[in-house]
């Protein structure tokens, strides 16, 4: 219980620090949301009035504390630009980003797990080298280039999948999956590589362990040794990487959502940044930070399930 409380307090500190840094950085940027709100026709007097109305003429620290107070009250505020509640804007878009990231993770794992196992099992063989070369080639392509390549092949040339847009689940599972497959695949095609590499490296070590030798001596089939005995202890680093990569996945989602015109949190964040909609950006960053630290906390807890030694020793991970 004490461990959980300590963890939660650590997480709160991280969230506070990230939100404070983001707030300061946003305020240090050139430009002013009042000019966006005021539009082309606004005079300097209009701009000053808008700044006053939005509270932008108050000190940054005071504004940050006010924002924190409102967060504590469960209010993310209203967008400076279109006056819509920030929480509503984020909640409307969160399912799209979650679906995109989860599907991309599943795809990446579907690629990484068999590839990692095959590479470890056939270490330094032609298979291993071929898969590794493919992986590095895939990793060297930026996500936006990958996205355009996939659009060109699957939407423009083959016409199998839509080039842009998102069909919500309410329009049917088939349409929903069709709309999200290409964006998820363009993230997965890059993100599967580190997963495959760590799994391969860990599994090569595991396959040298005595209990594997024992299993082989007992005449157990190779597939069983690989998938039942070696995979589980080899996936500890893989799980860690999955947690740590969340930030990277979200970064990729920002780019991919813009290219595929998906109404997710990533594209909302981009819109907010370009229009200097501080509250919107703060809200998005807060949600992303919370997601990041919670997922990593869950990964920490998952260790104990995967490795009994951690559970026994009560290791402070």
């Amino acid at each position: 219980m004490a461990l959980v409380a300590r963890k939660i307090s650590r997480l709160l500190v991280i969230v506070l620090a990230v939100s404070a840094i983001t707030f300061m950085m946003l305020n240090a940027l050139p430009g002013d949301v009042a000019y966006v709100v005021g539009g082309e026709e606004a005079s300097e007097a209009d701009i000053q009035a808008i700044r006053h109305a939005l509270g932008l003429d108050r000190p940054v620290a005071e504004r940050y504390l006010r924002w924190l107070y409102r967060i504590a009250m469960g209010d993310l505020g209203h967008s400076y630009v279109n006056y819509a509640p920030v929480s509503e804007a984020i909640l409307n878009r969160l399912p799209v980003t979650i679906e995109l990231i989860v599907l991309a993770q599943i795809m990446a794992l579907l690629l990484a797990l068999p590839a990692g196992v095959i590479c470890a099992h056939t270490n330094r063989s032609l298979w291993d080298r071929g898969i590794t070369a493919t992986a590095f080639a895939s990793l060297s392509i930026p996500s936006f280039v990958m996205a355009f390549l996939l659009i060109f092949c699957f939407a423009l040339k083959l016409g199998w999948l839509p080039a842009t847009g998102f069909a919500p689940l309410s329009e049917g599972l088939g349409r929903n999956l069709k709309s999200i497959l290409l964006p998820a695949f363009s993230i997965a095609l890059i993100e599967w590589v580190p997963l495959m590499r760590v799994l391969r490296a860990d599994m090569i070590q595991t396959l040298k362990e005595d209990f594997i030798l024992m299993a082989r001596a007992k005449g157990m089939p190779t597939w069983r040794i690989l998938l039942r005995d070696a995979l589980k202890p080899s996936s500890l680093t893989l799980i860690t990487i999955l947690g740590l990569q969340i930030g990277h996945w979200i970064g990729a989602a920002v780019v991919v959502e813009t290219i595929f015109a998906l109404p997710g949190v990533g594209s909302l964040l981009v819109t907010g940044i370009f229009s200097r909609d501080y509250l919107l950006v703060q809200g998005c960053v807060l949600i992303i930070t919370v997601a990041y630290v919670v997922i990593n906390a869950l990964v920490d807890m998952l260790y104990t399930g995967l490795d009994p030694r951690i559970r026994r020793e009560g290791l402070n991970v």
Partner: protein, 520 residues
């Protein structure tokens, strides 16, 4: 079909006019591909999907910062004006039936259409029009377009379906204010939706389409208004407007059939789609101009010799060729096709003249150019650097986003900055705002007492000929002061799948989707 034919010819002819032999093959190809045959009967039903670069910014005149992108188009389908304007300048009745000026020209009486209701059931009447206009004119509401409504003093109800506009003085552009497509000025919203503060997110009007959903960044959905007052209209069941900011993605969405229409100004897509057999091309030639503003209040550009030297060193046609592959027109004034002023004395590309002016100035010049943080902005920066190198002016190109550019411009903390002169149905409105020395819109800091006098003269003039001549003189005087460099005339392209019928291109701004139907 006929509309598509006409517009194909227009775009091809325009390309040919601008570029001569360079686009001759394109011209030939387009003419050969012209569709032919009699106009078909309208077909009812179906969904039209159109891609825009930008999402809406809201739909309420006071709260939304602009009627931009998909938002402008959606507003035109949901909310109606009192009148439209024909190509000949006559008023076409919509929610208004007739507009009659008084003998002294200081009041206009507008007879309104009866038996029209807003989508929420609120009756359309004089109260709705008066409430809308009082909101716009009330200084406390800080309506951003109020600067362009200066001569309108008040609007009052005289009968249940009659309103009266009271003006400070006779004002020729008054009717263009009623018919304008810029912003929300001319579109009458439901007074109930405004009172409930829902208009900005869920607009209610009297138009042929009813607002259904606005999923920000994804789509705006409208459905046919079953009780629309114009019987037999509209044709489509549903219109979906999709903001797709990335140009390549927008192009891919059109070509792969996910959207039926799209707006673009990217040369690579324009040249590909203009000769594509599946798509019709529509060119929207707007008035206004995209410019590089020069700050007349800050050294060294407060010296007219330096500004004129830079204008002489700038080669507009080379810039257009490099950055736009000649798909946009040159311009030397901001009136577009509204007013033909002939030669307006803008400094021509002349390096000798430029060097002589710099020699007369006699000091080294280093300036900063603030441009948009986009590939096109960077391109403009590099081109400006290269061109001004010829006259030993050093340019530091500084990328900035939109809020940054706005701040620099309006606080006049820049040397040269990307800017535009937007298009209006009557360009005298923006001319007054942009070049009067006391106007907050005068971001150049341009001040010429003679121009101020001429601006007042054209505003008060009731003689169209005198007004036109005065506006041309203003253009010449402004050009002589060179407060900006012309980049290009504002032109956009709309591409539509051939199955989309009855598209007509207005002189200004938006494609009227309300008349469109889709072939089965």
């Amino acid at each position: 079909m006929m509309a598509a034919t006409i517009n194909r010819q227009r775009v091809a002819a325009a390309l040919f006019r601008q570029n001569g032999n360079r686009y001759f093959l394109t011209f030939l190809a387009i003419v050969l591909l012209l569709p032919c045959g009699a106009p078909a009967e309208p077909h009812y039903g179906g969904t039209l999907s159109m891609a825009h670069e930008l999402d809406a910014a809201g739909f309420d005149a006071i709260k939304a910062r602009a009627a931009i992108g998909a938002g402008g188009n959606a507003a035109s389908l949901i909310m109606e004006k009192l009148f439209e304007r024909s190509a000949q300048g006559e008023l076409i009745p919509i929610l208004g039936l007739a507009a009659t000026p008084s003998a002294d020209g200081k009041t206009w009486t507008v007879q309104l259409r009866e038996n029209v209701t807003f989508h929420d059931g609120t009756p359309f009447n004089a109260d709705a029009v008066v409430q809308h206009w009082q909101r716009l004119l009330n200084p406390e509401n800080r309506y951003r377009g109020r600067i362009f409504l200066g001569p309108i003093l008040s609007v009052e109800k005289t009968e249940p379906h009659v309103v009266q506009f009271n003006l400070k003085h006779p004002w020729i552009p008054f009717t263009t204010v009623l018919t304008g497509s810029r912003g929300f000025t001319s579109r009458i919203p439901s007074p109930q939706a405004v009172a409930n503060d829902t208009q900005n997110q869920a607009p209610v009007g009297t138009g042929p389409y009813v607002f259904r959903e606005w999923k920000r960044g994804d789509r705006i959905v409208m459905e046919k208004n079953p009780s629309y007052w114009q019987k037999g209209y509209p044709y489509l069941d549903r219109i979906v407007l999709r903001p797709i900011s990335d140009h390549e993605s927008r192009y891919a969405a059109l070509v792969s059939g996910q959207v039926d229409m799209m707006v673009t100004d990217r040369p690579v897509h324009v040249t590909k789609l203009a000769v594509h057999p599946d798509f019709a091309t529509y060119m929207l030639e707007r008035a206004g101009a995209t410019v590089m503003a020069m700050n007349c209040t800050k050294p060294p550009l407060n010296d007219a010799r330096v500004r004129r030297a830079i204008a002489h060193a700038w080669h507009q046609q080379k810039y257009i060729r490099a950055s736009f592959k000649d798909i946009v027109p040159r311009c030397e004034d901001w009136y577009g096709r509204q007013l033909d002023c002939g030669d307006v004395d803008y400094p021509r590309h002349d390096l000798e003249q430029a060097r002589a002016l710099m020699a007369a100035y006699g000091r080294p010049v280093e300036i900063e150019y603030i441009h948009s943080a986009t590939p096109r902005g960077r391109e403009a920066g590099v081109i400006l650097q290269q061109m001004l190198k010829e006259i030993d002016v050093r340019v530091k190109a500084v990328p900035s986003d939109f809020p940054g550019i706005m701040k620099q411009l309006f606080s006049k903390q820049y040397d040269i900055c990307s800017w535009l002169i937007p298009d209006f149905e009557d360009m005298s409105l923006i001319t007054m705002a942009a070049f009067h020395s006391k106007s907050p819109w005068n971001v150049y800091g341009f001040a010429d007492p003679e121009v101020d006098r001429l601006l007042r003269k054209q505003r008060l003039s009731t003689d169209p000929q005198v007004r036109a001549e005065t506006l041309c003189t203003i253009a010449r005087k402004v050009n002589a002061g060179a407060p900006f460099l012309y980049l290009y005339g504002r032109t956009f392209y709309v591409f539509a799948h051939e199955k989309v019928k009855n598209i007509t291109v207005p002189d200004h701004r938006m494609i009227p989707l309300a008349d469109v139907w889709i072939a089965p």
